[in-house]
Amino acid sequence: MKNIVIQGARLHNLKGIDISIPKNKLVVMTGVSGSGKSSLAFDIIFEEGRKQYLQSLGVFTALVEEDKFDHIAGISPTIAVQQNMIRQRNTRSTVGTKTNILKMMALLFAMKREISCSVCGTMLDSYFTCPQCEHVEESLPVGYFLYNNPNGMCIRCSGKGTYAEINLNTLIPDEHTTLKQVLHTVNPKPGYLKLFYKKFADYIDMPFTVIPDEVKLDILYGQYVESNSQHRSYCLHRILENRFVKDGDNSGGLFELSECTACQGFRIGEEARNVTLNGKHIGELASMTLTDLKHFIVNLLEQEDRQQQEMKETAKREYVMMQDILQKMNSLIKIRLGHLSLYRELPSLSGGELQRVFLHDHLESKMDGMIYILDEPTAGLHEREKLEVLQSIRHLQELGNTVIVVEHDKKTIEMADYIIEIGPKAGVEGGQVVYQGSVDGFMQSTHSISAPYFSGKTKITTRTNPSMVMTKHTPKLTISGANIHHLKHITASIPLGMLVGVTGVSGSGKSSLISNALVSLLHRHFHQQVDNETYAEDAFYKKQLDGKRNTVEAGALEGVTHISDYVEVSQVPIGRNKNSTILSYIGIWEKVRKLFAEQPEAKEQHLTAGHFSFNTKGACATCEGNGQEKQWLGGNYFIYSTCKDCHGKRYNDEVLSVTYKGKHIAHILDMTITEAITFFADHKAIIATLNILHSMGMGYMTLGQPTPTLSGGEAQRVKLAKELGKRRKEQTLYILDEPTVGLSLYDTAKLMSLLDELVVKGNSVIVIEHDTEVLSACDWLIELGPDGGAGGGEIIAEGTPDTLKDNPNSIIGRYLRLS
């Protein structure tokens, strides 16, 4: 079979389409965000491939088939590397564990090592008897070098290198601080506060320090209980940890993540820290960038070479091991991951980095006859870096595989063997095949929405006030002495009232400069000042705030008076809570439910706003508000079917009997954004954010769509709309971290006109970006570099896009579009 053939695909918004995908080729699937690409590539092709694979193992037998398509043929075993599928939560997995390099390093350490005498500290060479004191040191097994192994992990931090805990000095500033003050500082919800007051009534006015230790322990860390997931009774640790984990809120420094003092953040125990290679223990090596580590290993190998003649059998094994490590490292560096370290936690990687770490596995595996589906593998890459990643992907195809790449990137499209565009637009306006064929044909296509952007016929944006240039008189924000991470004490001036692009190769320090240094300086300026005003009369709080002020050492900031506020939209994905919907996420669900509770029918039946929430009182009793019922097929397999009582409406009949303008609450959840804007026209508070979503081109989305099912690009923009929807003062500074990741050029154009509008209204916008189209449309660019990691951290060029084009120091300049 030469093609994968799908007939009558009709999942989600797909309109019964027929598609034929050539095998053993590099195929790009593109289309505007929400057009149905992922539904086709992942939910149909990948799911089918996986199913056939499982069937071949005899696993799947009794599966009730969802009606996704009429016919499918030509599927072979399929591997998908999807962004939200590999989104990692587990901070225990790191680049080192995922790539297995850490294990190989541990083996190397267990074989070859320099060890210091644990009695007197003298360095021993290959013999384990100390020449000073004759103490015999035992050799250390592999497990001792691994932070995930009970033998190897630092006991203090369980191998995390950091621990999050209550900052007692901040919580209890001095010996006069009473329990009451402590509780008010933590500020739990009133109900819980009452519980504390009741349980610890005898101690409430006592200075905290004189309370008996057992009671202190109970207040701070609780007692072990089976019944909740944290296995602690209600205590301050639980409150603060919850806020920290769920909302990323450190409660003003009360709960902080700090480097482990026992292992200095190296994750491993003392035993392994005493064993070194060329003076470095495994924790130090695993904290280096891969590029630095590579040099380190190369050095070791050179030393080995010199000793070749006298090489013993064991030394040969080490030599082979080092070669293996080097090879793996090289392939990671080649796909532009050299700035990462082995200890870098997977959840902290950008989507593109994570893709490539996973891709690396497959590039190594040398399997053929497979179908690979990749989701935007070049996301987050600088133009210069894309080439090698694309070569690797091409290599994967040349091994004899079919590679389907879901992508909006021009470079990727240009090198594809075959293009499929789904569209023309999103949601109900999409779901059709707009184009399938060669790249050349694609660029000529008259049906395609995105082709004109690629061929340059349509520009992504026309700025309202073109050519704003920074002059002496332009108000600006200046950060000086920024030295977080690898930043080299730099001074950066950001012109205000403009659209400013910050760019640079991955790891060059864009996020360090903007998301870390600038944002923490802004936070310090705005929020702590507000805190101070609120509690000005309360000396107790003031003292604490002063304590917090020194926690960030980011540099100095000038010119803050030119802005009135700031907003940051980061890349952190929207939560995966299945009860979260667009409506609740953008914060208008409350308002809608209140509106329903005010209706006469609701009042009659004593239904409160709470009843109109499908996960509490108003839920259909059969499915508990899921709308679906879960059925177990045995093993790890479940299927979901629509609830037979509420027919997927999620509510009980009582709640559904209440209507507003003829619609009940489940109708509202099924409405599109466009419909809702007309329906709620008189309720300004409800439609404000909806209007923004509409102007971003997302009017087709339904209000009740669970946020975990949003496509990548949709999720980004919903987040952005939520921020933009908050009532802001003029002269606000908006900071966006790669807002175009996951967006087609068509969607990017919509986003850009929104940003343009913000600037026109007198605000300032900073975007951290790689997209050359977006950068070309900026008023001012700041480029960091020249390389990633320790080789970066400097400003290599700044100016208008035009001047950067002629600036020999600029790397991005030559990729910018001539205007």
């Binding site: 033998n151 209550i166 609780g222 072990y224 640790h237």
Partner: protein, 343 residues
């Protein structure tokens, strides 16, 4: 719980006396049936001793072992440590089980020591509810430490809540260290002086340790009672003794700590040690809920046990060679030994 106090017509201080199964009210046929089971399912067993009404009613050795051989009884050692803590309390070396353990190791506590560590009591260690941060206790790692006690205290210097049942050998080692800190003797010497010699158990020597590898600490060539690099008797394992001496220890518990008119361990300690609770674990004794009675056992890995069933005036000792995944021993009592009782 009903407390049974039995009159004894002799004390096995010098020697155990033997009686026939019938004489002590047990059915020989039922016991005979057990043999097949042992031969087929309990191949690693080395000794089995049934004491009823103070007499040896049944005694068998396997795998070349005899009544004179000493064997390492692994974690069964913990229950002996429990008895020693009780004696130290009776004698006033320790004030109460609610005493904080940091009082005994002032050098290990710093201003930054955690509240959890400061709040751990002797009772937490006895009941295995101190907050250790591990899922699987790494013995190899413990063995490599220069100072075990400091290492163990470091593990406990964390922010975990207290009260979770977490079986830990390291915790028991701290109890041995507390005995040494308060009495100036090793737990082994303390046991000889205050316990073993009074009930006819052979005195045990502190093992002479040349090194502290896994073999030296857990191997099958152990002698006496092993200790750590500071000379502290291992609290969680390391005792080597005979089957008949183990029976003496169990018999002491059955007699409420009293031996031939002398109170060796207070009755209250023994009651507290085996009081039923939700973890079914007393003061280093495993508790077994029978219909309306409580039995208890000292237990060491591989199948080393002293089962005490007070209401039946019964002590059953089993010793075994350590193997992976040994067969559970309690079914032998449940299916053969207890049903054999006919009076």
């Amino acid at each position: 719980m009903m407390t049974s106090i039995y009159e004894r017509d002799y004390w096995p201080t010098e020697e155990w006396k033997t009686a026939s199964l019938e004489d002590v009210g047990m059915d020989p046929q039922k016991i005979e049936n057990m043999k097949y089971m042992i031969n087929s399912h309990y191949k690693n067993m080395t000794g089995l001793l049934v004491i009823r009404k103070g007499y040896i009613a049944y005694e068998k050795y396997f795998n070349g072992f005899s009544m004179h051989d000493t064997q390492h009884v692994a974690s069964l050692t913990k229950s002996v440590i429990s008895a020693l803590i009780g004696i130290a309390l009776d004698k006033g070396y320790i004030d109460s089980v609610d005493q904080k353990i940091v009082e005994f190791f002032p050098e290990a506590i710093t201003p930054s020591s955690s509240m959890s560590l400061r709040c751990i009591t002797i009772k937490h260690l006895l009941m295995m509810t101190a907050p250790f941060p591990w899922k699987h206790e790494p013995f190899d790692r413990l063995a490599r430490q220069k100072n075990w006690v400091h290492y163990i205290l470091k593990q406990l210097d964390n922010k975990l809540p207290l009260g979770k049942f977490q079986y830990s050998t390291a915790g028991t080692h701290l109890l041995s260290a507390i005995l040494t800190a308060t009495t100036g003797m090793s737990a082994c010497a303390f046991a000889n002086y205050h316990l073993f010699r009074h009930i006819g158990m052979k005195e045990i020597e502190d093992a002479y340790m040349k090194s502290f590898g896994m073999k030296d600490l857990f191997g099958d060539q152990l002698n006496g009672w092993v200790n750590d690099p500071q000379g502290i008797t291992t609290g969680g394992w390391g005792l080597t003794t005979t089957v008949r001496d183990l029976a003496r220890f169990g018999f002491l518990y059955l007699n409420h700590g009293k031996w031939d008119n002398k109170q060796i361990i207070s009755d209250t300690w023994i009651r507290d040690s085996v009081a039923m609770n939700e973890n079914k674990y007393g003061y280093l004794w495993w508790l077994i809920q029978l219909e309306d009675q409580v039995a208890y056992t000292a237990a060491g890995s591989g199948g080393n046990h002293i089962f005490c069933i007070p209401h039946q005036d019964l002590v059953v000792v089993m010793t075994s060679k350590t193997i992976q995944n040994p067969q559970e021993r309690w079914p032998l009592l449940e299916q053969y030994i207890l049903p054999a009782i006919i009076d």
